[in-house]
Symmetry: C2
Subunit: 322 residues, 2 copies
């Protein structure tokens, strides 16, 4: 109901909507409406109540609340269920718990703040309140554990497609880092629970630096991090960008379910900045590092690197472009 009330206030574009009108439309009591309004206010929306005039939405807090995000969201699976938290240790951790308890395919967990967010390889993920988009998507595809890495490519392509909608150039470094000026804009951490015969669920955690100014990054992160606003040369609406990512993700997920990963790989290659380049590689499997030329990705999404000692297949690890 909160969402429907929110939609009505938003559609009124700064004009008052009477309680009676809302009550008629939604077939609920005035008291129920009042309660929902109080909740929306508590979430941070500036809603004015004035006697008989009713309610007016004064300004849209840029919070990633389901009521606001889902308003106008065009998806079939991703984000149909959405859970918002003000602060969590990490959205992936909560998502894994909810997935274990049976949360539906496509459920999104979004938070304004993470107190213990982590990137790949246990790296700390910097994410100040209100400046990033921090969320996890629960997926339940019919696939095997070996297919999980491909969903991480899917997530990177979804973010890149969303960036294109905002006229921002997108570069993907294998496997899933979105880069700008050799610095990272988006981190993706994919986790899975599986049996040998089937994946139970995949959790794709995505952290997007949206409006963090370069000077505001901690010193140790400054050299390796960038923000969408830096690429854009100005702030970007978190909620609009979030909606775009969810929509792009939904499209790709439906495509995978219907026809497999072929087109994801094509799109990934279009954005990629790794293939054809000299790279230094640290294998997550062996901890060994080696140099070579990134040739291609194979049907599992693994990176094929040609080295002095022949072709190597990198399933997971760290790549730096020389």
């Amino acid at each position: 109901m909160k969402r429907k009330i929110f939609d009505m206030l938003k559609d009124a574009a700064g004009n008052f909507v009477s309680g009676e009108e809302i009550a008629d439309e939604l077939k609920v009591t005035r008291t129920a409406i009042w309660k929902s309004i109080q909740t929306l206010k508590k979430f941070g929306y500036d809603i004015e109540s004035r006697g008989k005039l009713g309610y007016k939405l004064n300004s849209m807090a840029d919070l990633l609340l389901p009521a606001a995000v889902q308003s106008g969201l065009n998806t079939k699976i991703i984000g149909v269920k959405m859970i918002h938290k003000d602060s969590v240790e990490s959205t992936n951790k909560l998502a894994k718990k909810l997935a274990y308890e049976g949360a539906a395919d496509g459920t999104v967990i979004v938070a304004e703040e993470q107190t213990g967010g982590k990137g790949r390889l246990e790296r700390k993920f910097y994410s100040p309140r209100g400046k990033s988009i921090l969320f996890s998507i629960i997926l339940r595809p019919k696939c095997l554990p070996k297919d999980a890495p491909k969903f991480t490519l899917m997530a990177a392509v979804a973010v890149a497609n969303a960036m294109q909608r905002f006229n921002l150039p997108a570069q993907i470094k294998w496997p899933n880092d979105i880069m700008f000026d050799d610095r990272k804009v988006v981190g993706i951490l994919t986790e899975l629970s599986a049996q040998i015969e089937k994946v139970n669920y995949i959790v794709v955690g995505i952290g997007i630096n949206v409006n963090i100014e370069r000077k505001d990054f901690p010193d140790d992160i400054k050299k390796v991090a960038a923000s969408l606003s830096e690429i854009n040369g100005g702030e970007i609406s978190r909620i609009d960008f979030f909606r775009a990512v969810l929509e792009e993700c939904d499209k790709l997920y439906l495509m995978i379910n219907a026809e497999g990963f072929g087109k994801i790989f094509e799109q990934w290659k279009k954005f990629n900045i790794t293939l054809g380049r000299k790279v230094k590689v640290i294998s997550a499997e062996t901890d060994e590092s080696f140099f070579g030329v990134a040739e291609d990705i194979d049907e599992d999404g693994a990176l094929i690197v040609s080295t002095e000692n022949g072709r190597q297949t990198l399933y997971a690890g760290d790549v730096s472009i020389r």
Copy 2:
């Protein structure tokens, strides 16, 4: 301490051991000993207490209690930590919970009874109290999600090696079914939690039909299930067999950590009854079924099947031998 007291009573082989002797040996109070004895009794051990004579172990209940199993268990990782439950929904479920909470590499969860045990592909697993060995092992190997299936081969080889120690012929049907007379003796269900870069933990659930008489299997299971006692032509000590499996598993796990899966594959092939045979295959990936000849397993443990339409690689699924 319970385990040390149990060991002393067991070593006394039916003779009394005085409380004083135990107290001296273990440097604990007589009261502490008395309490441990009460716990052991509650677990089902028939321990006689007689005034100054002390305590005597009259008979060994065939329960799979840590104190009993670990007594004389020769392992470095597997079963060093062991948790025993009288009844659980499934040992895998509990193992996953404990692994999530940080349980150590090699922790074993064993239960006398499962109320909701499941095999691969969601099949119900029949396991009457006291007649089976039902346990799960938590493993924390340094590997990628794609490597998880190999640990299921490891588990099958461990059980087969244990059977050899009992002079029982062992046959493995790909990937991990232990068969007798075309019926299944052991079920293995492997699950994993992982990131793309690393496995968090693997839980290998093993259910062994030990002393279930053929006539006692439910009608729908009778045609597809067998018991170690049927192969042996007489009952087998659950505790001795359990210990043997844990020891064989430990050996293989140490071997994998030191030198990879090569020797596991060799041993698996020695026991296998699938390779070289005409098979019907149902792929877990596509749900499609096809016929062919099982040629080999590849470096991932996947089954290579030559068919009319060329070679197919089966990562997971069901194989029946024609």
